[in-house]
Symmetry: C2
Subunit: 340 residues, 2 copies
C-alpha cells in the first residue's frame, strides 16, 4: 500500500506573532513501510506551546524545525500496515508524526496505547503535557499538605494536571486563567480552590495585589508555564523556601516581553531573601520516569480524581488557526486536532 500524506510544513520563520504565511499545506507520496516500520493513519494530533519555539532558529533545548520541513508534533493514530513485530493493523499508537494525516514510522518510535481509555488522553492528561505537570510538581515542586500552589493556564493540560494533583495531595490551589468561563471551569470542574482571571489584571502591581488576596498564606509553589505579568505578580508573594519549577513561558514566546517591575537584581534578591528555587526543566530529559507517571496518574484519571478537558479542532488544514488561537489563550482545555 502506498499513500499520499497531507502535511503542514513550516513555510517561513515568524518574526513576532505567528501568521498564516508561516505555514503551507502540501502533499507527499509516502512509499511503503519497510522492515521495522508501520504505516499509520493519524486520527488526532496535539498542539502544544513548545511548538512555537521550534519555529525559531534560536539556540534552544531542541533543534528547530527546518524551513519547508513538516511541523513537529505528537499524534495518535491507527496502524494501517505493519512490517514490524508487535504492531498489527488496527492497533492504536502514539508517535511524533508531525502535523500530517498519514506517516510511516519505525515501530520503536511508537508507543502502543491501551484500548480501554480514549486514545486522545495520550496527547494530554496522560501524555506529554500531563507528564510535564506531574514531573515538575512532584520532582521539583515537592508539594506538602497545607501549602499553597499557584498555576496559570489552569484549564490547559499542564495546569489542570498540576492543580488537580496538588489538590489530591492536600494543597490550597489557586489557578490563573483567561476569562470568567475558564476560571469557573477550573473551580467547578477541576476543583481548584480559587481561580483568578488574568484579563482583570491591570498591571503587575494589580496582579500582585489580587494574587496576594487569593493566597493569604503566601505561595509555596509557583508552577511556571506562562511568565509575563502573572510571574511578576507572583514573585513578590513567594514564601520562604518557595519552589518555582519552570516548564514554559508562553507570554514570552511571541517576542513581546516587558518586565517593568522585575529586573535581574530584583529577581535575584527575591530568590536570596526567600531562599527560593527557580528550576527550569524540559520534560524530554525525563522520559525514564514516564512509566512511573502512568502508574501513578492513569488510575487517578480512570477513577475521575483527575479530570481532563479537550478542545477539538476539526481537520488538519485548520491546525494553523487552532495553533495561533492557542498561543493567545483561545483554547479551552487541551488543544487537539481531529485529523480523521
Amino acid at each position: 500500500m502506498s499513500v499520499t500524506s497531507k502535511r503542514i510544513v513550516l513555510a517561513s520563520r515568524p518574526s513576532g506573532p505567528v501568521t498564516h504565511e508561516n505555514f503551507r499545506l502540501e502533499n507527499k507520496e509516502l512509499g511503503a513501510p519497510v522492515a521495522g516500520e508501520v504505516l499509520i493513519k493519524v486520527t488526532a494530533m496535539s498542539l502544544d506551546p513548545y511548538m512555537r519555539g521550534r519555529m525559531d532558529d534560536a539556540k534552544s533545548y531542541a533543534a528547530p524545525v527546518e524551513v519547508d520541513g513538516v511541523m513537529e508534533g505528537g499524534a495518535v493514530g491507527e496502524v494501517l500496515e505493519s512490517k514490524a513485530d508487535g504492531l498489527a493493523p488496527g492497533d492504536k499508537v502514539f508517535g511524533m508524526t508531525g502535523w500530517c494525516d498519514h506517516a510511516i514510522m519505525r515501530a520503536k518510535e511508537l508507543r502502543k496505547l491501551p484500548n480501554d481509555i480514549p486514545e486522545t488522553t495520550a496527547l494530554g492528561v496522560l501524555g506529554m503535557p500531563g507528564f510535564t505537570g506531574w514531573y515538575g510538581l512532584t520532582q521539583i515542586g515537592q508539594p506538602k499538605k497545607g501549602e499553597t500552589l499557584v498555576v496559570a493556564a489552569a484549564t490547559g493540560p499542564v495546569g489542570s494536571m498540576v492543580g488537580q494533583y496538588a489538590k489530591h495531595k492536600g494543597l490550597r490551589v489557586v489557578g490563573i486563567a483567561g476569562g470568567e468561563k475558564k476560571c469557573k471551569h477550573a473551580v467547578e470542574h477541576f476543583g481548584f480552590d480559587e481561580c483568578l482571571d488574568h484579563r482583570t489584571f491591570e498591571d503587575a502591581k494589580d496582579a500582585r495585589t489580587k494574587i496576594a488576596a487569593a493566597c493569604p498564606d503566601g505561595i509555596d509553589i509557583y508552577f511556571e508555564n506562562v511568565a509575563g505579568t502573572v510571574l511578576e505578580g507572583v514573585l513578590p508573594n513567594l514564601n520562604v523556601f518557595a519552589r518555582v519549577p519552570i516548564c514554559g513561558m508562553i507570554a514570552y514566546y511571541d517576542g513581546a516581553a516587558s518586565a517593568e517591575r522585575y529586573d535581574l537584581p530584583k529577581l535575584w534578591r527575591t530568590l536570596l531573601v526567600q531562599r527560593a528555587v527557580a528550576h527550569g526543566f524540559i520534560i524530554s530529559d525525563h522520559w525514564d520516569m514516564f512509566p512511573e507517571f502512568l502508574k501513578d496518574a492513569a488510575p487517578l484519571v480512570a477513577n475521575g480524581t483527575i479530570k481532563f478537558t479537550e478542545d477539538v479542532a476539526e481537520g488538519l488544514e485548520n491546525a494553523p488557526d487552532a495553533f495561533m488561537s492557542m498561543l493567545k489563550g483561545g483554547n479551552f482545555g487541551k488543544q487537539i486536532v481531529k485529523v480523521a
Copy 2:
C-alpha cells in the same frame, strides 16, 4: 567586675553608599554578668557583606539593626569572668557580640574554640563565611569531578573556600577578582586554574567573552556572591543542568543596579533552555550542618589543603572604614578587625 564597652552603633540608615555619618562610636557601661552569662574581651571581630543588608529597613531574611543599636557581627574573644558552667576565664569563644570591645553574653550563645588553631579562623575559613561556601557548593552546587566552576570574590573567605574545595573535588575552577594582585593570589596561593580580573571587563558582553574563553567547556556551577556584570557575563555561558547557588550579591547592595543585558524574560529563558537551577540560600537556616562542615573542612585547613588569607584592620574605631572599603572590594582576604 564592671567594664565600659566601646561600641559602634548605627547612627543613621544609608541612602546609597555607606558613609561615616551612618556610624557612631560610643561607650556603654556593661554591668556585671549574672548566672549563665560571661564577660568577654573581644580580640577580633568579623566584617562581612551581609552587614550592609542589616543597615537597611527593608524586608529581608533577618531583622535590620535598629538606629542607635549596635552594629551586628560575629567576633572572637577571651572570657574575663564567667557565671556559667563550662566556660572559665581565659577560654577562647566565638559569639555574635556586635561591633564592640567587651560584651556580656549568655554562655549558650557562645561557641568555645579549640586552642590548637588560630582563633580568627572562626571568623572566616572555619566560620560563617567558610561554612557558607562549603554548604552552597556541596549541598546546592553538587560538584562533580571534571566540571567547571566559576566563583567571584575569589580571594574572599567564601570564594576561596568554594574554589579550593572544588579543586579538592577535581573541578576546573575559574575565579574572578578585582585586580591583578588578587588574581595572582587566587592562582598561586589558592590553586585556582585561572582567575579573571573583573576590572578589565568593559561591559557584560566583554565579561561574557572573557569568561567563555576561560571556560572552554562552559560553566556547570556558578557560585553567586557578587551579581552585577559578573553574573551577566556568566549567565550566557551556563551549561545544561547548571546549578547557581545564590548566597549574596554585593554588587547590588549599595543601591546601584544595572541589568542592561538580562531582563527577567531572558533570565527565565536561560533557566528553562539550560534546565538550570537558581537557588537562594541563607546560611543561618543551616546551622544544624555546621558540625558536619567542621568535621569535613577543619582537617583540610589543618593540613594546608585549604588555605586562608586575612586582611587585618587595627582598632575598633577603624571598623567603619574597613567595612566601607570591603564593600568596594578593597579587602584582600577575610576582613577582620583586631580589637585587642
